[in-house]
């Protein structure tokens, strides 16, 4: 008898045949990543959870359209990206998510030491200052670890655009977060 790990492609094949349990197992592998991606770009946990459910429902309904199971991750995040931007458009017609009130005050933590909660607020605020596109590029690269080619598929734009958004965002983040680094927060 030979044991081998059940890969996503195996689960996708079974789920395509109507095996809901196989799809549930697939969800359990990816739901945390999708949820955190959505939390970081939507900045709202309830919306992120609702959209996560929508993302997996759409994924199940369209699983047969996935040509290459090896590209499941970027395909799934493409659905998540579309859902998030659909929500942005519903909430704010111009497509730019609103910034939270009081973010300016939150980033100026001051004092000699930085507590984890302060660090979290500072990072969150620095991310809030980015445009939605820049923030999403940072989330996909830094937090989700996608390659530029995959990001290009998810965001439906050229690699050069992806890199431009990411590197501009990194310059802004570097400037915003340098006081924390100087104080030895990390």
């Amino acid at each position: 008898m030979i044991f081998r790990a059940v890969e996503d492609a195996d689960l996708i094949r079974k789920a395509r045949g109507g095996d809901v349990e196989a799809f549930n197992l697939l969800i359990s592998r990816w739901d945390k990543r999708v949820y955190n991606y959505l939390v970081r770009i939507l900045r709202n946990r309830e919306d992120a959870l609702d959209l996560s459910q929508d993302v997996f429902l759409k994924a199940y309904q369209n699983l047969r359209k996935l040509d290459d199971p090896e590209r499941f991750a970027s395909w799934l995040f493409r659905i998540a990206h579309n859902e998030a931007y659909s929500l942005f458009r519903k909430r704010k017609p111009e497509g730019e998510p609103e910034r939270e009130e009081g973010s300016e005050a939150a980033v100026r933590t001051g004092g000699a030491s930085v507590f984890p909660i302060e660090l979290s607020i500072a990072v969150s605020t620095a991310l809030d200052r980015l445009s939605a596109d820049q923030r999403e590029a940072v989330v996909l690269k830094v937090y989700q670890g996608f390659k530029f080619e995959e990001m290009s598929e998810i965001l439906s734009c050229p690699v050069s655009t992806v890199k431009s958004r990411l590197y501009t965002a990194l310059e802004l983040l570097k400037a915003d977060l340098s006081p924390l680094k100087a104080r030895g927060a990390v």
Partner: protein
């Protein structure tokens, strides 16, 4: 400003081709400015990653709804029909089962049953033979009786003619004396 022959940020994210990465590695060993810039990128990434992923507050899962789901028979049939090897295997299995069934369920009686069936067949054959003989005998008797009656009628007719002739002869003979 980076003096690296390749984009330092691509190098940092591991997006350079292998050959370029090796050249960049060598450059980093000799260039303090690029090392500093690389360190700044690492620090920024470290600060960002210091805010870890959250646990999802509610696991996501789906329950199969039988209303929208194809029936078990349909799914089974679909799976079977769409698979040549499975269909061949099923045909062979059905054939084997039929052979086994016919071998084990062929109606074969006990010796007593067989003896009874033979006796019944013999009795039946004897009865049929007797009936046939009786029928033939009856036919022969009927034919003989018919022939006897015809003969009797013929004889009676001859006798009647003879009597008539005898009577006439007597009449003529008595008149001439």
């Amino acid at each position: 400003m980076s003096c690296s022959p390749f984009d330092l940020r691509d190098y940092f994210f591991g997006e350079l081709p292998e050959e370029h990465r090796r050249q960049a590695d060598l450059h980093m060993k000799t260039c303090a400015g690029c090392r500093e810039e690389l360190e700044a990128l690492r620090s920024t990434q470290a600060v960002l990653l210091s805010v870890p992923d959250e646990e999802i507050p509610q696991r996501i899962g789906f329950v199969s709804d039988r209303v929208y789901e194809p029936s078990v028979v349909r799914r089974w049939w679909g799976a079977l029909w769409n698979s040549g090897p499975r269909l061949g295997f099923a045909s062979a299995a059905m054939l084997s089962v039929s052979i086994l069934f016919s071998a084990t369920h062929r109606p074969a009686g006990s010796p007593a049953d067989i003896a009874r069936q033979v006796n019944e067949a013999v009795v039946k054959a004897v009865a049929e033979s007797d009936a046939r003989h009786l029928q033939e005998t009856a036919k022969l008797i009927d034919a003989a009786t018919q022939r006897f009656d015809e003969r009797l009628a013929h004889d009676s007719e001859i006798m009647a003619k003879y009597n008539t002739l005898s009577y006439r002869a007597a009449a003529y003979g008595g008149g001439s004396q």
